[in-house]
């Protein structure tokens, strides 16, 4: 779930971690009651500052995605379907924005991207 967390990205690490957890919940990879890795474990695994993991979990908790029970760990809450859909949309928007930015640098226009998307997926996006 966290394998593509990138310390060189301008997006802060805690935001990247929180975003991946939210997405995993939205996609159903994590469900209500599942435990997240401990702060210590995740800091070790990603070789990052434990404080960064603490901050990511705190943000997730204040957004209502997880709950940290003192001395027991951090657990996924029952997130309403509406919120999960919203999260999926937010992620998709984020990806498209980044794609458009990269495309602009390369001098590509929306038409080029749409054609490539259709060719890759085999699905027509327009009538």
């Amino acid at each position: 779930m966290f394998h593509d967390v990138d310390p060189r990205s301008p997006t802060p690490l805690y935001e990247q971690i929180a975003a991946r957890v939210r997405m995993a919940i939205a996609a159903g990879d994590l469900s209500s009651g599942d435990a997240l890795p401990s702060t210590r474990q995740l800091a070790q695994q990603l070789r990052i500052n434990p404080a960064t993991v603490v901050q990511a979990y705190r943000d997730l908790a204040s957004d209502g995605f997880v709950q940290t029970r003192h001395g027991q760990g951090t657990f996924v809450l029952d997130v309403p379907g509406l919120v999960r859909d919203e999260e999926r949309r937010a992620r998709a928007t984020h990806l498209v924005r980044k794609l458009l930015q990269d495309a602009a640098r390369l001098g590509l226009v929306v038409q080029d991207l749409t054609e490539a998307l259709e060719a890759e997926t085999g699905v027509k996006t327009r009538g």
Binding site: P7, R8, S9, P10, P12, L13, T39, R40, A43, Q44, L46, R47, I48, N49, P50, A51, T52, A104, R105
Partner: protein
């Protein structure tokens, strides 16, 4: 105690050629602070000052809320230090060195020392003279950690170690921090490593502190901007221009490197009748290099 390390107006001189000038440093308690700078920029001198190994000509130094040099013994008892060059005795075995070191530190955690010895795969019967560079690096970190310090001062702790050993050594530090919330002051020129773990950065060059701020702010504040049609003499911009060069082969286009950037500042370019083509993020290494480059405009060749 808000800051684990505080230097204010510190002056220091080594021979004729090198000095630290009006050095102010503030390392927040509980942070992992990356102390960056090229070789010879004054990182090790600063570390020697804050451990009382040398004395400033002027200025004030406080470590863990205690004033130097008066309270040096109390400071040293609570600071774990990994020096740039090993300070262990080649003739001792690992076990003897551990016992020797432990005798100086009342807070020495024997069980944890044993645990780390096993985890890092150190052979306690081996003479230190016969340890590889990687094993010596692990031993130095073990010595610093097992005294359970409130502050870890690491001077190029992973320099010259292979990636596997580096990972083990830093892993042990992160584990300790997760458990204790200790402050870590780590000097290194291995920028990528610091980018992962540090939440604060200080950048040194030629005995001066060029920047000190939270990692995210430092990284996000320095941008490479492609500008078209900017006036030759810019009207006071809200950011600092570090460098400004024509972009190769692209007509009137220029590349600006700026510091203190925030996205609403794009409006500045509209106001001066210029057009922004792109705002490019820099990673820590690029930010670091650009900052140093701009600090040395007169002689870019100088090491």
């Amino acid at each position: 105690m808000d800051n684990a390390i505080e230097l204010a107006g510190v002056e220091w001189q080594a021979g004729k050629s090198f000095s630290l000038n009006q050095l102010d440093l503030n390392v927040p308690t509980g942070s992992i602070y990356g102390f960056l700078g090229p070789n010879g920029s004054g990182k090790t001198s600063t570390i020697r000052l804050l451990l009382g190994m040398t004395k400033p000509l002027a200025g004030r130094i406080r470590v863990l809320g205690m004033e130097l040099p008066g309270r040096l013994p109390n400071v040293l008892r609570r600071v774990g230090y990994v020096p740039e060059r090993p300070h262990v005795y080649p003739a001792l075995t690992v076990a003897e060195q551990l016992r020797c070191h432990a005798s100086f530190f009342p807070s020495w955690d024997r069980r944890w020392a044993d645990d780390l010895t096993e985890r890092l795969g150190l052979d306690t019967d081996r003479k230190i003279a016969r340890l590889s560079k990687g094993e010596t690096g692990k031993l130095l970190m073990l010595l610093a950690l097992a005294q359970r310090p409130a502050l870890l001062v690491l001077d190029e702790p992973t320099d010259g170690l292979d990636p596997v050993v580096r990972r083990d050594v830093l892993g042990a530090v992160l584990d300790y921090v997760a458990e204790t919330n200790a402050t870590v002051f780590i000097s290194s020129h291995l920028v990528h490593e610091l980018e992962r773990i540090c939440d604060w950065v200080g950048v040194m060059d030629h005995g001066r502190l060029l920047a000190e701020l939270p990692m995210q702010q430092f990284k996000n504040g320095i941008k490479r901007i492609q500008v078209h049609g900017a006036p030759e003499v810019p009207l006071e911009p809200p950011f600092t221009i570090l460098t400004r060069e024509p972009t190769n082969g692209l007509g009137a286009r220029e590349t600006w490197i700026v510091r203190g950037w925030e996205s609403p500042m794009r409006a500045y370019f509209d106001d001066v009748g210029a057009e922004v083509h792109d705002v490019i993020d820099l990673d820590l290494e690029e930010s670091f290099v650009e900052l140093l480059r701009s600090a040395r405009p007169s002689d870019p060749q100088e090491g």
